[in-house]
Symmetry: C2
Subunit: 235 residues, 2 copies
Amino acid sequence: MKNIIIASTSTLHGSDYLEYLLPELKIHFKHCTTVLFIPYARPSGISHEEYTAKAASAFAKINIAIKGIHEYDDAASAVESAEGIFTGGGNTFVLVSQLYKNNIMIALAETVKKGTPYLGTSAGSVICGLSMQTTNDMPIVYPPSFKTLGLIPFDINAHFLDADLQSKHMGETRDTRIKEFHAYNNIPVLGLREGSWLKVDGDKIIVKGELSAKLFIQNQMPEELQTGTDISYVK
Amino acid sequence: MKNIIIASTSTLHGSDYLEYLLPELKIHFKHCTTVLFIPYARPSGISHEEYTAKAASAFAKINIAIKGIHEYDDAASAVESAEGIFTGGGNTFVLVSQLYKNNIMIALAETVKKGTPYLGTSAGSVICGLSMQTTNDMPIVYPPSFKTLGLIPFDINAHFLDADLQSKHMGETRDTRIKEFHAYNNIPVLGLREGSWLKVDGDKIIVKGELSAKLFIQNQMPEELQTGTDISYVK
């Protein structure tokens, strides 16, 4: 039975890394003494070691140890034998490339589908969708595919941002980008604002946090889904 | 001898499509009665026909006809025999996928290197670099490669945007994204603000427009390059 937290961001403005999520994580990982951390997305290009130390320092506050996947010789068996798994944010292209390179895309999907508790933040949440094609990140490396874990039957846009109607900048708004995605793809997209997360509990997918989430379906007007909504009908 | 305009954007806030560039384009395309338009990037998913009509309406103001590349059976020979070429903005992943699919990435590079006047805006400018890896666009389709025309020896970040120091949004700034690019690549990146363009005249590459451009070189502090600067030393 799936047991997943898919968070838009790891960090809220003015607050520590993972701080807003810790009460939830304490419950989510209650049966874990150690959580396996996947640091592949390397935000700002920091090393696997530095990134793992950062995750460890947050999880120490809820008395859970963190071990980085790069510390294991066999990444797939590290995933399969983990008590819990956390994939941090950073660059989605780098993350997906590394998941394929280390041959764990399938092992990770199967392990989480079997019920190992999983937490994703930002890029680590984007990969829970069918594809990484609604990431906001720069394509700084070329992954062998854009297909991802498929733990949920739609795609995630993390750090979802409403259009700034005062802006004079002519770059595309997030809504326009997702509309362009739907000119070529029919996968639903959920825009998760910072501070929002999804809780996947078996077949149920619930919007959590204080804000609503914005659902984009091909050829339909976008829709705001209030926190608490069960969105398991979206596919 | 190369003769290229690489513009950050097609449109300035509160102004018509290509309006700010028309005086420059009148000179740039002075020997052309017809310019070949490449509408592949399809902003907001509009059709090739609609997009070509939009370009034609702007170019009509300087008495130049526009013909869309999709109107030709043989895209490569359309490129090779064009008097001038304009690639419009939109989604860089879609544009690059279509250039490969229609087998014109090489023909386009060779034609422009031989001296056919070229204009790129936004995505049409990003492809002038060595790779499309500093695009801001969403990866809505999967291109066979991120390699692009290589008309200049660096990469372009179009619609370059300075960090908003007041923002509480935790998504990466443009500077952070380019820094992440340089964790994996050593290609210099030029951030072109809206209203800026590069004029490539043979071996010379000059920053034009009212604003400075921001140069990012791996392991160095970014540098502001004033308008009028010859940046042909960057490689």
